[in-house]
């Protein structure tokens, strides 16, 4: 039993080594270890530096520990009294000074990076300004310079600085896109936080709420979709186009009276309080957590239409504690509205 023990300890640094190898892994759209933009890249750089220093420390400690545990085991029946050592000034100074040096090596780039990442792009004309407002349990993205507001899906141009102004409409949430940038809390009461990030490649990046915000905290996902400049311009234009209501007049009437009293679509409906529905059909997910796909494999996946039907039928079952009520609609009405919404695709 005693011999097995150092084996475990030898395994641990190996695992730590594997960890570094693993760092190339993880999903490209989700992992902090697989950065897709300069901010996440810089943060990974600090991580790598600190891991390297720390692995060094761990290796030294483990090596001494393993040596000691083998070398100084008590033999059965051994009654000798080891020399009682009070201490050793030279050694003690060494293991005080070396950590201090290591900390300076880590501390200097840390401070540089803290100030670098705190750079304010909110007045920068070349940066895309986006106001992020977190709600229980959805994300509102307002583009003040473009005069548009959307929900759940942030569309950004690649290779542009995205300057974020984050706040909350209710409780504290935290805005996190692991593969693009670390998180920033969204505080209530007009306490606005700034951050920025940039995506170098087009793609869809997964965003998460990282601060416990209620029962549906786990479902408060969002997406960041990075597209080229031309697409972005097309998207902005498409977002501003006037909305067409459902063709069926009865459904249009129901949609207006039951949905647009809270939601907005294009220029219609109640603007700026609840999730904007413009372009629902081309979004990646419904309600953040029901993923849209034509090839559903898991129980949170389905076609846009199926997800919409599921969501409208019983919002509480999908996201407990959210504010969307179970609207009094017949199955036919729900299906018609879902169909209409799933066809609201933006061309960009």
């Amino acid at each position: 039993m005693m011999n097995r023990w150092p084996v475990v300890k030898r395994l641990l640094p190996l695992l730590a080594g594997m960890a570094l190898l693993l760092s190339a892994c993880g999903r490209e759209d989700l992992s902090a270890l697989n950065p897709q933009g300069p901010v996440a890249q810089e943060q990974l750089g600090i991580m790598k530096l600190s891991i390297t220093i720390m692995v060094l420390v761990v290796v030294v400690v483990f090596a001494i520990a393993i040596y000691v545990l083998f070398r100084f085991r008590r033999k059965p029946g051994d009654q000798t009294i080891p020399k009682q050592v009070e201490g050793n000034h030279k050694l003690e100074i060494i293991w005080t000074v070396i950590p201090l040096i290591l900390l300076v090596i880590l501390g200097v780039p840390t401070i540089q990076s803290v100030f670098g990442l705190a750079q304010d792009y909110s007045k920068d004309e070349n940066a895309i300004q986006i106001k992020v407002t977190a709600h229980q349990y959805w994300w509102e993205f307002e583009y003040p310079d473009h005069g548009i507001t959307t929900a759940q899906e942030m569309i950004i141009p690649t290779n542009a600085v995205i300057s974020i102004e984050a706040q909350s409409a209710d409780v504290i949430h935290s805005f996190w896109i692991p593969s693009l940038a670390g998180k920033i809390d969204t505080n209530p009461g007009g306490n606005v936080n700034n951050m920025y990030f940039e995506a170098t490649k087009p793609g869809v990046y997964l965003g998460k709420c990282a601060e416990l915000c209620g029962p549906s905290h786990a479902y408060m996902d969002f997406k960041v979709k990075a597209v080229d400049d031309a697409s972005f311009e097309r998207w902005v234009t498409a977002m501003k186009e006037p909305a067409t209501l459902p063709e069926d007049a009865a459904i249009a009437e129901t949609f207006t009276s039951q949905c647009l009293t809270c939601h907005a679509i294009g220029d219609k409906g109640l603007q700026g309080l609840y999730p904007n529905l413009t372009g629902m059909g081309s979004r990646e997910a419904v309600a953040g957590f029901l993923l849209n796909t034509d090839d559903p494999k898991y129980k949170n996946e389905g076609s846009v239409y199926d997800n919409l039907v599921r969501w409208i039928k019983d919002p509480e079952a999908v996201k407990p504690g959210n504010q969307m009520p179970k609207v009094d609609l017949s199955d036919e009405e729900i299906e018609a509205i879902a169909k209409y919404l799933s066809e609201q695709k933006l061309d960009y």
Partner: protein
Amino acid sequence: MAHAHAVKRYSGLMDWLTTVDHKKIGILYLIAGGFFFLIGGLEAILIRIQLWQPLNDFISETTYNELLTMHGTTMIFLAAMPILFALMNAIVPLQIGARDVAFPFLNALGFWTFFFGGLLLNISWFVGSVPDAGWTSYLPLASPTYSDGHGVDFYVIGLQIAGIGTLIGGINFLVTIINMRAPGMSFMRMPMFTWAIFITSALILFAFPALTVGLAALMFDRLFAANFFEVGNGGNAVLWEHIFWIFGHPEVYILILPAFGVISEVISTFSRKRLFGYSSMVFATVLIGFLGFMVWAHHMFTTGLGPVANALFSIATMLIAVPTGIKIFNWLFTMWGGSIRFTAANLFGIGFIPTFVMGGVTGVMLAAAPADYQYHDSYFVVAHFHYVIVGGLVLGIFAGLHYWWPKMFGRMLNEGLGKLTFWTFYIGFHLTFFVQHFLGLLGMPRRIYTYQDNLGFNNMNLISTIGAILMGVGTIIFLVNIVVTAMRPKDAPNDPWEDGRTLEWTISSPAPEYNFAQTPLVRGYDAYWKEKMDGNSGMTPAEPIGPIHMPSPSILPLFMSIGLFIAGFGFMFSNYIIGAVGLLVTFGCMFLRSIIDDHGFHIEPEELEDKGVKA
């Protein structure tokens, strides 16, 4: 003046309800803390079962938030701290050669307020309104607007009552250690465990009042519509974060320093060697305690405090690595050249070192603010603090319990079962938490009820759940060990490990009611070891045999705590009559305590002969 026969002495249950004996109070802390540890552990297992596969719905979202809140709160306030209080009550007076703590009555009061505070918190499960805003209870989530029902009220009032007990304990041990040391026991001759408790008590004294204010403010917000954290009326949600962490970070050191102390004792004893660099150990402990108050905002790097604050708190946090490193190397060099015996207690002690080092290095990684923007509130943080708290504190507690069990109960724990506990718990621990570092880096936020499939989280979550169950098995083996041991005769000798170095090993196991028939004269660090090396069979007494003054047992601490318990419920449900009745009971007991002089009683020398000193 005082007459032995004038004091009624109780037996059976009444003895335990009225005891002011630090050793019995230690056992009460152990039982109550152990009970809450099992509850918190069960909550952890339920959390892990929910997370073992993606999109699981073993429990509901709301229940999950309740479990994670109660797991954290219970483990920190009702399990870890009380078990530490158990060890410090059982051992510190013995280590400094004292007959009791400075305030035996307050000691009992501290226990009972903790117990009833914890009880109140856990009654929430039966009322069906459980705290669900996390153990940090960030506002506005915990405000009346977003958390209606009484859940957070239980948190606020339960912790407030339990916190009183902790604060009392802290003051008690500070005074005990300053005033009650045996002759010759200078500060720099105190055992390392006593030093750790000394600093811990100071941290409690200066950290807990901040929590008291925070909880009071939150209580006023919730019960009396105050506006401390109501942003709509000018309140400030970030203020809560500051107050909570000004308390919360020292709290981390309140938890870990006693474990450092235990490890120092265990490793030194089982290496048969003096603690390496004792004075630098003391210095490091003091420094950690001091720095512990300067780093709270590293829990708030993403709150938006600005680059200056983030940079300062980054550096301050990193500095803590230096004294901690000193400790690690001192332990390693205590073993260097020693004669290491692998008892169950020492396995936990040695197992602590690499585990804690890993928790420590991730701590330094977290201190680098830009990287923390990624780690913060992800499973990386979950892994880090479990490495520190479970891998540090809980292993330390297990080491201490195996080591001091004979001194507390007069029986040696079974070594085989002890080693089995170690291996199952240790392997289970690393399985559970090692992979969580990577889960966090791969993008899994903490406190989430479930996760989507195909994100790369599945296998590691499964491993983590298996590990958690293995930890549960380890705990059960420990319980079996306790039962098996309790059925054996009470035959532990004074110095059961044969290499005991400190004063507690000079007296019988368990210690007699009065601890030391004659106060010992301390002639150096590791007082007992010094006598052994000088060829003496025991300590030189510092006083002649004489009557020993003992404090009287009292039921008042129990009633005072019940009064607070009742008052808590009264205020929670806005029934101010019941609230007033509860407070009246408490203040009435305080009044009685003030006007009735407690002369205590004396144990006469003749009684000593037939009671304790049978050797």
